[in-house]
């Protein structure tokens, strides 16, 4: 290699310098790849303000229109100082990141159709760093979306308590990561943009409705109870609601009724396990996505 470079007088010293110095595969190189894939997601999100605004419309509708409209019916069982809006706020907050996170993975399908994915896939860098960068990028922009929605917490009588906000942001980040990983896993398989959009649209609403975002998880008919326990979103909406209620002055009886926690056949799933389930699902789906992208035709 060295003799070869020396034997050929180069027109520009820089070319040789670069060629000789391009490192073999290393962890630092992989980290640079993770960072640049992550940064690209942010740059694209910044230039796409319309998406940022439109994806807030749905949660705003749910919180203010549905929340206010239903409060005359559902608000009767609420303790003083807590409205139906407060009750659904954690679930709607989760919803605010749902679309953005899953659809951030749609850019993979988009990139495939418009060729950019090929530029990424021929790079001398591990598939893992590309997928990790993508998942972290989607998680970041979705969480950012959630933070914008957090600003509206006061309208739902949720206090701006620093500890609560930090907890909620952490939980949003985890949720966003898992949802993006899910989207990336699907995008590895689904090659058509329309098919991807249709499938994810179809999944998003059931995920939301079965998560207990709009109703307490206690006292449900058996069939619904089982479905809610299968929905991964349940395991993050539960801890988020718990976080909100632990910062409200609510009599114990009411909290037991409104935020009963998740139970498996009567056994109360602890918070750490609930959050752990979401984290493990996210990591698992990301691993599947990495394996999918390692395949070569």
């Amino acid at each position: 290699m060295t003799t070869e470079v020396a034997a050929e007088p180069a027109t520009d010293a820089l070319i040789d310098q670069i060629r000789v110095a391009v490192p073999a595969h290393g962890i630092r190189h992989d980290l640079r790849a993770v960072v640049i894939v992550w940064r690209r997601e942010l740059i694209r999100f910044r230039t796409d303000r319309l998406r940022a605004i439109t994806s807030l419309i749905q949660p705003v509708l749910f919180l203010f229109v549905l929340g206010t409209g239903l409060s005359s019916l559902a608000g009767r069982g609420m303790p003083p100082g807590v409205s139906f809006k407060t009750f659904i706020y954690p679930g709607v907050l989760a919803m605010s990141v749902l679309f953005t996170a899953i659809f951030s993975a749609a850019s993979i399908v988009w990139d495939r159709e418009f060729g950019f994915l090929r530029e990424i896939l021929v790079a001398p860098v591990s598939r893992a760093s590309i997928v990790i960068g993508k998942c972290l990028g989607g998680a970041t922009i979705a969480t950012f979306q959630g933070v914008v929605f957090l600003i509206l917490a006061g309208f739902a009588d949720v206090p701006y308590n620093p500890a609560l906000i930090v907890t909620l942001i952490g939980e949003l980040l985890l949720l966003s990561f898992t949802l993006t990983a899910f989207g990336v896993m699907m995008a590895a398989r689904i090659k058509q943009f329309q098919a991807f959009m249709a499938l994810t649209q179809m999944l998003v609403m059931p995920l939301f409705f079965l998560s207990g975002a709009l109703y307490p998880l206690a006292g449900l008919p058996a069939w619904l109870s089982v479905l809610t326990r299968i929905d991964p979103l349940t395991y993050i909406v539960g801890p988020m609601r718990h976080a909100v209620f632990s910062h409200l002055a609510v009599p114990a009886g009411f909290e037991q009724h409104l935020a009963p926690g998740i139970t498996w056949a009567g056994w109360l799933v602890p918070l750490w396990l609930s959050i752990g389930i979401v984290a493990i699902m996210g990591l698992g789906m990301m691993t599947v996505a990495i394996a999918e992208f390692r395949k070569t035709e």
């Binding site: 391009v22 595969h25 060729g115 530029e119």
Partner: protein, 343 residues
């Protein structure tokens, strides 16, 4: 081993390129997609510094071969090595050493030109201190430095292709693959792209592997391989390929064409036809034939033209069809490829 070296150097000498190991070497390569055999056992070598053209109609196996060389597809059997690394087993080593310009654009049109290049530099691990100077160097080379902050979506097709060439060179690869680099561009832009490619050969120490179906562009190559139905049917320099066709095309305008055709058959044993309003025939050494024609021919001749075989004639003689006709019949194959790609 000694035998192998001998074979390599003779190939290089034939190509008129300086000594050295081949940069690309392919042996017994095949690729099947289900029942379709896209590549049916091809062998070739490309020497360092060569501009090597891969010609053939769509669906002939050009793109499949490039995909295997670029580590984007696995061969069914056979081996391919690029820059001294096995394309199937040492993917990252191959990827570090190659630059790619695909026929479809692979730029992110929502990013600026510079952001696209920066993305590439980071993915390829270009040393941080070299990123900026090198970006400037390659963008200057294709005349796009002053547009570095424009979104790619505002670029014309020709500018996008130039930016892709710049990006493909950013990490100083040893081999640059250009898959139909000028397809879909107007003639003026095509010639400007070629201007950049030819300048590049003087400035960078690089081997170029390109596919095209424009015969006039193939003239720019040091050597050409013609691939048809997944097999290489001819491989040599453009001049040698043209010489191998062996015959020049002669066209004469006469006072009496039917008489001229009859006289040609009688006097010289040549079969001639009327084409483009002239009596047309092929003979070896056309220029030497003309004096004989005047000396021995009975029918008055008004004008004569002799033309060397073009690469179109070469393509015709090896594949039995012109590349444009092959394109038309290749449409089915193209659809097939599209389906495969979508799978």
């Amino acid at each position: 081993m000694a035998l192998h070296t001998g074979a390599t150097s003779s190939a290089v000498v034939r190509a008129g390129i300086g000594a050295g190991q081949p940069v690309i070497s392919v042996a017994g390569l095949t690729k099947r997609y289900g029942d379709i055999e896209a590549v049916r056992g091809i062998d070739f070598e490309v020497a360092k510094g060569e501009t090597f053209g891969f010609l053939g109609p769509n669906g002939a196996g050009k793109t499949t071969t490039i995909k295997i060389l670029c580590t984007l597809a696995n061969a069914t059997s056979g081996t391919a090595s690029v820059a001294g690394h096995d394309a199937a087993r040492a993917r990252d080593a191959v990827r570090r050493n190659i630059g790619l310009v695909f026929q479809d654009t692979t730029l992110d049109s929502y990013l600026t030109a510079q952001q696209n290049l920066r993305f590439h530099a980071e993915l390829y691990g270009v040393p941080k201190a070299a990123v900026m100077p090198r970006m400037r160097q390659v963008m200057d080379m294709v005349g796009l430095w002053d547009r570095k902050d424009s979104l790619v979506s505002t670029f014309s097709g020709g500018m996008q292709r130039r930016l892709e060439i710049a990006r493909g060179l950013l990490h100083a690869p040893r081999v640059l693959f250009l898959d139909e680099p000028t397809v879909g561009l107007d003639p003026q832009t095509r010639s400007s792209i070629w201007k950049y490619i030819n300048e590049l050969k003087g400035r960078e120490d690089i081997t170029i592997f390109l596919t095209t179906h424009y015969m006039d562009e193939a003239e720019n190559c040091d050597r050409i391989a013609i691939i048809d139905h997944g097999q290489i049917v001819a491989i040599d320099t453009p001049a040698a390929l043209k010489a191998s066709v062996g015959k020049d095309r002669v066209q004469i305008h006469t006072a009496d064409d039917p008489a001229a055709i009859a006289a040609l058959a009688e006097t010289f044993g040549i079969e001639a036809v009327t084409r483009e309003g002239a009596v047309t025939f092929s003979v070896p050494g056309g220029e030497q034939f003309v004096p004989r024609l005047f000396a021995e021919f009975s029918v008055p001749i008004r004008s004569v033209s002799v033309s060397r075989p073009s690469l179109d004639d070469v393509f015709m003689s090896y594949t039995g069809t012109t590349i444009r006709d092959a394109e038309a019949s290749g449409t089915d194959a193209l659809r097939q490829m599209a389906r495969l790609r979508g799978r």
